[in-house]
């Protein structure tokens, strides 16, 4: 009888274990089909890449999840009438027209439609291959007149610069998309980077250090400095690696000499530390600088500068920094000269081997989540004056 009870108890234990084991393994159905429909990478293979691309690394473009336009800037003499881009897609996704199919890019962009493995989702991409003249300009003008609500969400503003031919470019980036992760209810004008209709001359851009709300407090990321920079913002790592989400710099084919513009800066009342505690006696400071750097390392890898090395990288060639952004509510001019650390290589310059980053931030230590909520830096009429060798 005692033996029986032992066996019975054992049976119950086995039964319970079986239930748990069943839950843990055999109930899992077949792996669900993928629901993503991205082009992740576009690669262009051509017979003589050195005549086609400015840089060897230009043949491959990694596509951000938020991008739906992919542009290859190639040498002005390049033949783009029969190219076969190879597309890397989300797992299981299909694309029409097919990856590797041949198209004439001289007639404008080719539109690709990607369908997810489960067939429920689609994305459309425009791929451009644009023969690009290396232009030589005396002055680049950034007036912040062209802004609009971001197309997909309509939640925050983005800016366009005016290109030499009068069309609009996407050289300016902000971290507004990252702010949306923590503050989904914020209105467009409550984001860190907003337009100011009446600036020094027409519209200006306004950067304000903002509270990141309950999500920010939970994550010890209590504030978001307003920022605006030449480059791209990588939303993918905004949460996991924020200092690398700001990719500073765009290819630049002139020698910058002077960096000028107009600003107002009003520091917020109380600087707070990483934990949100006030730092008594400290006044918030803003960032206004431009960095000119080599965009490939010695091993030939493409490089952009990030939040943690934009002022310290070995690849920096010249810096123009407004040392002290004095608080003022009046529009105040700045004019700083680029301090060169090394000679500019003409050949490399012509091959788009240098990049330029212009960076504005309403709290200098915002990358470490230190600053004063309410600090406000407005910027207008930015000029980049270039010099040419005689």
């Amino acid at each position: 009888m005692s033996d029986f009870s032992h066996r019975m108890s054992f049976a119950v234990v086995v039964a319970i274990s079986l239930v748990m084991t069943t839950l843990c393994t055999s109930c899992f159905g077949d792996e669900p089909d993928g629901c993503e429909a991205d082009i992740e990478v576009v690669t262009l293979h051509v017979s003589s890449p050195e005549d086609f691309f400015f840089q060897a690394t230009d043949s491959m473009q990694v596509v951000f999840s938020t991008d739906s336009v992919v542009t290859f800037a190639v040498r002005s003499g390049a033949d783009v009438s029969a190219l076969s881009p190879v597309l890397t897609l989300s797992t299981g996704a299909t694309v029409e027209p097919a990856s590797g199919s041949t198209h004439d890019f001289s007639q404008g962009p080719v539109i690709y439609t990607v369908t997810s493995e489960d067939g429920k989702w689609q994305r459309r991409y425009r791929v451009n291959v644009v023969p690009t003249m290396v232009t030589v300009t005396d002055t680049l003008r950034y007036d912040f007149e062209h802004y609009e609500l971001e197309t997909a969400t309509q939640r925050y503003y983005m800016w366009h610069n005016t290109l030499p031919d009068g069309s609009l470019g996407n050289d300016w980036a902000t971290a507004n998309a990252g702010y949306r992760i923590s503050m989904s209810t914020a209105a467009p004008m409550d984001y860190p980077t907003t337009p100011l209709a009446q600036g020094y001359d027409g519209a200006a851009v306004c950067l304000m250090t903002r509270d990141t709300g309950p999500f920010g407090r939970m994550a010890n990321k209590r504030l978001a400095a307003g920022n605006m920079f030449l480059g791209t913002f990588d939303i993918r790592i905004a949460m996991s690696d924020h200092l690398h989400a700001t990719r500073f710099g765009i290819p630049f084919t002139d020698r910058p000499d002077r960096f000028t513009g107009y600003y107002t800066f009003e520091p917020g009342p109380t600087v707070q530390d990483f934990y949100g505690n006030p730092i008594v006696g400290r006044t918030d400071s803003a960032d206004v600088y431009a960095v000119f750097y080599r965009n490939h390392d010695t091993a030939g890898n493409e490089v952009v500068l990030y939040g943690d090395n934009v002022l310290s990288s070995d690849l920096i060639v010249a810096v123009a920094e407004l040392d002290y952004v004095a608080p003022t509510s009046q529009w105040t001019a700045w004019d700083v000269k680029f301090e060169y650390r090394e000679e500019v290589d003409e050949q490399l310059l012509a091959n788009r081997g240098y990049s330029l980053a212009i960076v504005f931030s309403s709290s200098s230590a915002g990358g470490d989540f230190i600053g004063a909520i309410g600090s406000r830096l407005c910027v207008d009429k930015v000029r980049l004056i270039c010099r040419h060798e005689e």
Partner: protein, 240 residues
Amino acid sequence: MFLAVMALGVNASVLDSIRFDARLGYALGGTIPTHIGKEIRGINSYYPGFNFTVAAEVSYPLSQHWSLHSGLRFELGGMDADSRVKNYDIEVVRGDESLSGIFNGNVRIKSAQRRITLPIQAMYSINDKWNVRGGVFMGWLTNRRFWGWAYDGYLREGTPVGPKIEMGTEPGDRGDFDFDANMRHMQWGIDFGVDCRIWRRWGAFAELTYGLSNIFKSDFHSVQPLRPLYGTLGIVYRIK
């Protein structure tokens, strides 16, 4: 008057025949999805919490073999489950702010509850040694916690074609959630047990409890419906 005396007489004999038990058990289990979807690809780890049950129970005989069994149980429940998911719908809410979308990666879920339960069971005594029981229970949560995080993966914000946001492992880099306030106070379900008298007043028991109510309120959709399921093993002492 006669009836009253009769009633008292009956009550006295009823009281004599009622059996009182005390139980101490340890439960293994947790909350499980009502249906394990294809979205859950595997369990990385599972730890049952510190799940003790203390109960005082009564059995009221109805016939030679059948009794009505009830009582009060005080249960500590909890779990810590870590699973791998694909195309998993998540929504993280803090105050008025929310972040939702389709997550691919790992999800850690922890829960802890304190529950007072009233079981009502029919008990069948096979012989002097063995009893089997089955019935329903009502539970009231006096303390409830449900929290966790999505980590080492990425979220497609909003829809599968929305922005891709990577989530890391550390607090602040991952997606934390906390759904204490979304849990129901009341739970109900079914349970089955078997008791075995081993020595004098001492015996062993095993019980399987399955909640038929979602542990979350009906207007809560951030996590798929979960129900309690656990097995309890323990000792029982016949008080009278």
